[in-house]
Each structure stands twice: as C-alpha cells, then as structure tokens.
Amino acid sequence: MGELRLMKGNEAVAEAAIRAGCDGYFGYPITPQSEVMEYLMAERPFERTGMVVLQAESEVAAINMLYGGAGTGKMVLTSSSSPGISLMQEGLSYLAGAELPAVIVNIVRGGPGLGTIQPSQADYFQAVKGGGHGDYRMLVLAPASVQEMCDHVKLAFDKAFEYRTPVMILSDGAIGQMMEKVVLFDHIPRRTDEELIKQCPWASNGRPKTRNHNIVTSLDLDPAGQERVNLKLQAKYREMEKKEVLFEEVQCEDAEYLIVAFGLSARICQKALDLARAKGIKVGLFRPITLFPFPATQVSNVGNRVKGILVVEMNAGQMIEDVKLSVGCKVKIEHYGRFGGIIPSPDEVLNALEQQIIGG
C-alpha cells in the first residue's frame, strides 16, 4: 500500500502530479484552487523530480504554456477555477485541434461572472459540451473524493497521452478544500528525453538530421484537409465512448427509484440514499465518473428498470440533459439543484425525491 496522508483535494492534485512524473505546472492564482500552486512552490518539485512550476501572468498565458510544453511532448498540468477556465477556452480548443496531451483541473465555483468562491457544478456544459470553438471534446473526469482527486491526475495523464487529447478533471471548491485521508501512489520517475521522444514521435522538440521536421498546429486552410482533421477527432471521441466510460452504481440492483449525481453531489446523495433506505424507500445511486464519455448505456440500463429518476446537481440542470438523452422518455426524470455556491443537504435531496418523484 502507498503512503497514507491527510490532505486537501487541491494538495492531493499537486502531490499526484509530482508523483505521476509531470514535467511542468503552469497556473494563475484563483480561489478555491490556489493551494495547488502553493503546495507545488512549497514542495519544490524542481528539486525533487526536476518538474518545472511557474506562476503565469494570466490563465490565457498558462494554457498556452501548456500548449507549448505539450507540443514538445512534455507532461503538463494546469489548475484553475471557473472564471480562469473561461479564459482558457481558446487554448483548450487549440490543444484539442492540435491533438496535444494536457491535464486541466477545474475546481468549479459558482457563476456566472465573478460569481462566488463557493463550490458549484455549473461548468458541466462548458467542460462536457465544448466551451471553446469548434467540434471538439475533452475526456472529463469527475472525482468525488480527495482520493479520486489524486488518482484521477494519474489516470488523466495516461489518457491524455493515449489519445493525444486534453483531459479535464471537473471538481469543485468543496472537494478542492476538504481534507480526507488519501493513499498516495508510488513515485513514477519523469521520462527521460529518449523515452519522451519514443513516446511522442510527433512532438516538436528539435529535429535530428535523420528525420523530417515536426509541425504542431491546429491549422489546415484546405477545407478537405480540415474535414479530415475533424473526422479523425470524431473517430477518437467514438473510441473513447467505447473504451473509457467510468461510473459507479450504489444499491441499484433492487432500486425502485434512482438518483443520478456526479462529484460532490454524489457524496451528498449517498447520505440521502442511506436516509431513504432507513425509511424503507428503495433508492439506488448512479454516479458517472467520466462525464465525457458519458455512461449513456449504463445509466439507461439502470434507469429503465426504475419508476423515477432524480438528477441532483449543484447547477440549474445540466447533466440532466444527458441523462434524458440516454434513458429516453419512458421514465419520469426530474432535476433538483442548488446554485451559486449552495450545497444541498441530504434531507433536502430526500425531500425532493419524495415530492418530485415518489409523490409527484
């Protein structure tokens, strides 16, 4: 077993990055995720593993630093929170277009605008449906614990390189700030230049005279060429849909009602489920772990066995659209949400289930 520690979610992201063999972190301070860079600066990974840590002048610069580093084959990470992630959208689109591996952590806070520094899940659409311009997707992971904050960093890097794609970890201010025990995975050494070049023969990192020059770009002025780029991207996304779906089912076997929730909401709904079960209501919980690719078939399988579904999110109803598309219209599907940084209580969720689904 790895090292056991009590850590904040944000700190777990930082420590996991060092341990995963990350080459560079570039970020800009914003609450509620500043601990990621603070931890890294205090930890001095440049001495521990040679990892570069740099405070950029803006999120725009940070995401483009990622693009630069990723384009040379390096393992790069940034973290931010909602307003900062909005500024990164152009860069995310470029990363997707140029097919570059990078990991982006969004510790979501309430919006729109400057909003609040309290936790929220209102960036689901932005993360899952696009955000930047053009037809692209990111692989999106939704951790529900500090342990998953740690583990998802490693998983995100693996998938980013496997698919040459930006991967987003969509978390929130509560998971970023809360402390839990976490089992840290063992150190993976940073790749040597030779290993990197072998893994990323496409990367622009200095042309040996024996090969042609590499070009990292998202531009193809020829429409036929640009359509080919798009078709390639779409094929990659279909592949992810086939192979990368992750989800968790809790007490779904005998469930008459289903709650669907991700991230922090799922933690609260777990408690609501316990309360409901204590009252004799047979409720199950379905938690998508990958938000893209969405566990469409899986949620449909469970969803079509129950009498009603409550989708609980800390937003005005975003993932519910994917649940409805997946499950279809034979089952009643309702949304319960709190916004602007309010976290719903388990009692509230149980009440909503009774009012909107069981009684309604």
Partner: protein, 270 residues
C-alpha cells in the same frame, strides 16, 4: 541546347557562391512578391544552419502572414494562437533548457493581442529570442490598423489616416521592453537591402549565441514592408518605409549586453 550548356558548364560546385540553405523547405512561399517576411525567414534559417543547432532548435510561428512559417522552415515548430507565442516559448525553454527557442511574430500578434505575454516573457527574462516583424499593419487580415501604424497612416480600419486622438499612438513596444531588466539584447533592423540583410543576420546570430549564455531575452525587431497592405509596389513600399517608418522606428541597437544604448548622431544615421 544553350540551357544544357549553361547547366553543365557553369553550375559546378566550385562555381557556386551562394545557395538556398537546406533549412528552407522547397515549398513556395505564401508571401506577396516583394514582402520582407521571406528574407527574414531565410536569414533566420541561415543562422541556425551555420550554428549547426537544428537538432536543438524549436521555433514558434504566430498568427499573421507568417502563420505558415513552419511550412517553410525545415525545423521543428509549433503554431501558436494569436499573440501567445511567448507563453509557448516560456514553457518550452524552461522544460528544454539546453535548446534554442525562438518566436517569430508580427506587430499585431506581439504588440496588440499578445502584449501581456510579450511583456511578461520579457520581464521574466526568459532565455529565448523574439523575432518581431514590424510592418505597421495587419497584413494577413487585409491591411487593418496595427498598434504600430504610424500617425496619419491609412489602413482599412483607419481609411482617413490614423487619428492619434481617437485611435491611440503607435506603440514602440521594443523600446518599452528594452527597459526591463530581464531583457538583455534589443536591436532594430531591416531586410530590404543587402546591407541591411547582412546586419540583420549578424543580429540574429548574436541573439542565438546569447541563448547559450543564459543571459536573458533577446529581441530582434525587423522593420519590414507590407506592399500589399500599404497598397504600393514593392519598390515604392521600400522607399516609403525608409522615408516614413525609419524616422519613427529608428534602426540600430537599443540594448546591448543588458545596457541601454545611448543614441548618438552617427548611430542614428542609418
């Protein structure tokens, strides 16, 4: 028959005094005939060739007319988003400290949309080289006003001439960043005559040599023509550049060895 004769008889290796560097690809340049971009590319590639550092050089092209620079330069390159090249270069140089990293940027790219990235890369003293093509206009998008457009100069978005009271003054960003302690070498050159080309090449060489010494950022501005955007013939555009651009954007060194150059009468006469 005569062609045949010339080829075999004159084109012998011992007779060749000048040839295209192998670091320029055979792709036809996308630039308008007469434009300075192509010459600037070539000088840059000659320097990298002569220094024999192609396996350690990473270039970053901008968004602007030189967006396709990576097609013409036979070195590893990345195409940046508009204005963000210095951010890419920052990360790359920090993670590949033994490599030579340069950005190649137009005035809109470097001095308008990318101002923050430019100033902060300079201020951090990133050990990179910025090649700044100042043609006083947005060439690629069809000749709109740039931050560097001269007072009174016409462009498609200042059709009656740049009115500095409402459109702002031309930005001498090169002089601005030369003030920053992280910036080690700053010079302003041109590529429209053989003499200027030679000086530009020397400046580029110096800038790349400095990267070996980890001295900080070097910036080589090249004041160049945009005959299409300026709506002039190539010859007239070069004349116009000498008469109008050079008095405002004076050629010569601005900062050498980390110290600002004090202009004298002679150094201003270029």
């Amino acid at each position: 028959m005569e062609d045949q004769f010339i080829k075999t008889d004159i084109l012998k290796p011992e007779n060749i005094v000048y040839k295209k560097t192998s670091l320029m690809t055979d792709k036809p340049l996308s630039y308008c005939p007469g434009c300075g971009h192509g010459t600037a590319h070539r000088m840059l590639m000659e320097v990298i060739d002569e220094m024999d550092i192609v396996d350690k050089t990473i270039g970053i092209s901008p968004v602007g007319c030189s967006v396709l620079a990576y097609d013409f330069m036979a070195i590893d390159m990345l195409g940046a988003a508009h204005g963000r090249a210095p951010a890419l270069a920052t990360a790359i140089k920090r993670m590949w400290p033994g490599h030579f990293v340069f950005t190649y940027q137009g005035d809109g790219d470097l001095a308008a949309i990318g101002t923050a990235e430019t100033i902060h890369a300079c201020n951090r003293g990133e050990n990179i080289t910025i090649i700044f093509i100042n043609n006083g206009i947005y060439g690629m998008t069809g000749g709109q006003m740039a931050p560097t457009t001269l007072p009174g100069m016409r462009s498609s978005t200042s059709p009656y001439g740049r009115d500095v009271t409402t459109m702002g003054h031309p930005l001498k960003i090169t002089e601005l960043v030369a003030q920053l302690p992280g910036v080690y070498y700053v010079t302003r050159q041109a590529v429209h005559t053989p003499n200027h080309v030679r000086k530009t090449k020397k400046a580029l060489r110096k800038a790349f040599e400095l990267q070996k010494e980890n001295k900080g950022l070097s910036l080589v501005e090249i004041v160049s023509n945009c005959n299409s955007g300026w709506k002039m013939t190539p010859v007239n555009s070069n004349k116009w550049m000498e008469d109008n651009m050079f008095p405002f954007y004076q050629l010569g060194d601005i900062k050498v060895d980390g110290k600002l150059v004090v202009k004298t009468e002679t150094s201003e006469k270029e």
